[in-house]
């Protein structure tokens, strides 16, 4: 097992290099430059060229890549063109905000959705099952931004329960416990939107995989030998049924850092999602590459985690 993990970790190196080359080439081959969108159109062209030369815009792609990778290997991810600040600082500032949203909403949705799915499966074709299924389908088919706008309309505008956007009451100068409460108040809407949307797929997955397992011979055997339904479900069925859910969960973990771009944008939440989107629009190359690389690392680790968890959940799976 340890050997396997080490081998997988080593394998990540060439994968990451490949990923970095692809991302690097893609973003640099895209037309446009970091100054085209942000500078007064009356700025003379030579000025812009001068500024571009200063940031090494006119170097050839292999030269740029070599420069970048040699610095990245020493832990220097570069300097954002737009923010004129080390990329690490910018990401560091945003990552906490995104984690706050995504960890909370992911936990909430798993904690609520998986039991709902299991109940739904054990009571297949009951009223509960139908209602849950209908809601799950609504959740899956609603686009995040539309759902977010609906929530804003009902909860923030009509009922005035929550603030519409941002992370804190601006200009309030709250500190300590009041600040914590204020942030919690602001994060309610995005958390509701994110977790309701994620819940839908978790619920459907756990429902169908439990149903799948119920058809297996060993469940029939368990029932035949007179085990109580409770034991059948919780000892025999559930453990096997949760394997596909682990896959889904792990892949969600991979995107936990990317944030939900649309949800973050609608609520002006200062997280990674909006950062990546903005940095691509502004052609802030160092920032785009650093944040997308971070995402790839995250996804790779999530995949590894999924494989390890498989082995833990299912003794038949062995890695050598």
């Amino acid at each position: 097992m340890y050997k396997y993990i080490i081998r997988r970790l080593l394998l990540m190196i060439p994968v990451l290099i490949g990923v970095s080359i692809i991302i690097f080439s893609l973003i640099h081959m895209a037309p446009g430059d970091p100054y085209s969108a942000m500078i007064d159109p009356n700025t003379p062209t030579e000025e812009i060229e001068n500024m571009l030369r200063n940031i090494g815009y006119y170097d050839s792609l292999p030269v740029k890549y070599t420069k970048w990778i040699s610095r990245a290997l020493t832990g220097d991810l570069g300097f954002s063109i737009r923010y004129q600040e080390p990329v690490v600082n910018i990401i560091g500032r945003r990552i906490g905000n995104t984690l706050l949203l995504s960890v909370l909403s992911l936990t909430l949705s798993v904690v609520i959705a998986v039991p709902l799915g299991v109940i739904s499966a054990t009571k297949q074709y009951s009223k509960f099952d139908y209602i849950a299924t209908i809601f799950a389908f609504i959740g899956m088919s609603l686009p995040a931004f539309f759902f977010a706008l609906l929530m804003i309309k009902f909860l923030a505008f009509d009922l005035k329960l929550f603030p519409i956007s941002g992370m804190q009451t601006i200009g309030s100068g709250y500190t300590g416990i009041r600040l914590v409460l204020d942030v919690m108040h602001h994060m309610m809407l995005p958390v509701i939107v994110l977790s309701l949307l994620q819940m839908a797929s978790f619920m459907r997955y756990s429902r169908s995989s439990v149903l799948e397992v119920f058809k297996q011979d060993y469940i029939r055997t368990a029932r035949a030998k007179g085990l109580s339904e409770r034991l059948v479900i919780y000892r025999h069925a559930l453990r096997n049924a949760l394997i596909p859910v682990i896959t889904l969960l792990s892949s969600s973990l991979g995107f936990i850092l990317s944030g939900a771009i649309l949800t973050e944008t609608v609520f002006s939440w200062p997280g990674m999602g909006t950062l990546i989107y903005q940095s691509i629009l502004n052609r802030d190359y160092p920032l785009v590459i650093a944040s997308t690389m971070l995402l790839s690392i995250c996804v790779l680790f999530a995949n590894l985690l999924a494989d390890i968890l498989y082995a833990v959940a299912d003794p038949r799976i062995k890695y050598n």
Binding site: S36, P41, M51, G166, V266
Partner: protein, 573 residues
């Protein structure tokens, strides 16, 4: 009310008389240009409400649709989200008034020498930096030398290069720039290499003065790395920084030391918001002001019923159908004129802008001084005329197929436009349909703005839709002079006309609007006839604000549109 008006006039007259006195002290100066009124007491008095109704205090929150990087040094960079704040924290020597004339700011008056190359500024006395240090001529000299420095890589090198003595300083042959001279602590003169109206205007208004005592010890090369200094800017403007939270908001507080009096409102905050939800925010009183992107009647009614006031502002720009004049099919002016006739621009203004705009036939907006009052072809919608013109240009129209042919081949053009602007996204299919009516097939190609701009630069386009901002001081050189064809400039349409080349050059050498007017009027008339690009419309941008907030003056000279005399803003009881 009448009495108030008279008082206002009196103020204005007194102000002008006083300015006149200070301006004419030096008999050597041939031409004395005095800014209209100092600190514009007059408009405030005209709009006046009894003093008692002005509530001191309150917070103005502006919903900006993007984040400020927080590099608050006005000469180092010009990212618009930072400029929004710098406009109220920093000031230039002069500024543009509501009537678009040069007006006193940090300089209370200025004069131009006989050869028009030297500008002498008499600085306002008793101006203090936000940290209490006095503002002097040394700060002005420092700021201009900063942009002349060899290590300077900001957006104002072109202004620096226009100053005499720049080359010697840049090459290290001189310790100072000879064209920037401190005469006494309150007088400074700047000499340019040659007479150039746009540069003169940029020196006066675009370069915002930065404090010498803060930046002096920082090597120019490392200026952009001074995160602490950049995030805690010290200026002379009516508001000063109090809190910058990256990615969330910039909070500014009233400057108690402001030379024109402390602002009535206590705080001015620019916060990040989402355009889709900002409307709800202003109605819920979570923000006080925001730019309205779509002036559709339903939204406007909604604002109105919620008690939100919507004002409009028109920027010195036009939305255009850009045409590649170097393209074989499009280099004939009759083709471009035909396109203008084929597109019902009245309908665009009426239906897509909901009436909030005017049809454009020249780059200048109707109230600009260089806009010709008559003698313009209005290109009123006339598809029949468009077909005739195209046939004159050698195209063949096959009425049965409703298709134009040129040299036996059906005419098909591509139209590039950009995503993210709802107006542009609606105009593109409208133009496609309009040109189809005259037999021209249009292939729509949408892309992100910077992608389209790259194509405009390289010349890989036939038609595009984009807004063009006019040059400083009505300048047309950067957009229509053939010497400015990419990659050498921003003449994206690749227009070439010897008379325009000559006139646009000549206009720069004249400083006063009276002298410049006939030249730019003539350029406008040529552009109207030659139609290097098809001018579509000038739009009116909406600005929604809390109806209790008063005295906000909308001006195209502010990038945010509202940052003019912010010290006069106040909340009504």
């Amino acid at each position: 009310m009448k009495r108030i008006w008279t008082m206002g006039m009196l103020f204005l007259i007194m102000a002008v008389v006083m300015m006149g006195c200070t301006g004419t002290t030096d008999p050597k100066e041939a031409q004395v240009v005095t800014p209209e009124a100092p600190a514009a007491e007059a408009p405030a008095a005209v709009e006046s409400t009894p003093e008692s109704a002005i509530k001191e205090g309150g917070v103005v929150r502006y919903a900006a649709f993007g984040t400020a990087p927080g590099l608050f040094n006005p000469v180092l960079q010009s990212n618009s989200f930072d400029v929004y704040e710098m406009e109220v924290m920093f000031e230039g020597l002069l500024r543009k008034s509501m009537t678009n004339e040069l007006e006193a700011c940090l300089a209370e008056s200025f004069s131009v020498s006989e050869d028009k190359r030297t500008l002498t500024f008499k600085l306002r006395e008793n101006v203090k930096w936000h940290d209490g240090e006095p503002f002097t001529a040394e700060d002005v000299k420092f700021t201009f030398e900063f942009i002349c420095h060899p290590d300077y890589a900001g957006p104002y090198s072109a202004v620096a290069k226009a100053i005499s003595g720049y080359d010697e300083y840049f090459e290290g042959k001189a310790d100072h720039v000879s064209g920037i001279e401190v005469i006494d602590p309150n007088t400074v003169s700047i000499t340019t290499k040659e007479v150039d109206a746009t540069m003169t205007e940029k020196i006066c208004t675009s370069i915002l003065i930065t404090p010498k005592h803060i930046w002096e010890s920082v090597p120019v090369k490392q200026a952009l790395e001074q995160t602490e200094l950049l995030r805690n800017p010290v200026g002379t403007g009516p508001f000063k920084i109090s809190k910058f939270v990256p990615d969330q908001y910039v909070e500014m507080v009233a400057n108690d030391l402001y030379w024109n009096g402390r602002p009535h409102v206590d705080k001015y905050i620019v916060q990040v918001a989402n355009p889709e939800t900002a409307q709800t925010q202003i109605i819920n009183n979570e923000v006080e002001m925001l730019a309205v992107k779509q002036m559709n009647p339903d939204d406007l009614d909604y604002y109105k019923s919620a008690g939100v006031f919507v004002d409009t502002i028109s920027f010195d720009a036009a939305m255009n159908l850009g045409v590649n004049n170097s393209n074989e099919l499009l280099k004939d002016k009759r083709v471009r004129q035909a396109f203008a006739y084929a597109i019902d621009r009245e309908a665009i203004v009426r239906d897509i802008l909901y009436g909030y705009g005017t049809v454009a036939n020249v780059p200048y907006k109707p109230d600009f001084w260089a806009n010709p009052e008559d003698g313009l072809n209005a290109y009123t919608y006339n598809p029949q005329k468009a077909i005739e013109l195209l046939e004159e240009a050698g195209w063949q129209y096959k009425a049965d197929e409703k298709q134009m042919y040129k040299d036996g081949k059906p005419v098909k053009l591509s139209l590039k436009y950009y995503s993210g602007n709802k107006q542009v996204e609606s105009i593109a299919p409208f133009i496609q349909q309009a040109l189809k009516e005259v037999g021209v097939q249009i292939d729509l190609q949408i892309s992100e703005y910077s992608t389209m701009l790259a194509d405009m630069k390289s010349g890989d386009f036939e038609l595009y839709i984009a807004a063009h901002k006019n040059g400083v001081a009505g300048d047309m050189k950067s957009q229509y002079n053939s010497a400015f064809t990419p990659p050498n400039g921003t003449n994206y349409s690749r227009f070439s006309n010897s008379r325009v080349d000559e006139l646009s050059e000549q206009g720069l050498r004249l400083l006063s609007t009276d002298e410049r007017k006939p030249i730019y009027v003539e350029i406008a008339k040529i552009l109207n006839e030659e139609l290097p690009i098809v001018y579509l419309y000038h739009w009116h941008q909406g600005m929604a604000m809390n109806s209790k907030l008063k005295n906000v003056q909308l001006t195209p000279n502010s990038m945010l549109g509202i940052n003019y005399q912010t010290e006069k803003w106040y909340f009504e009881e």
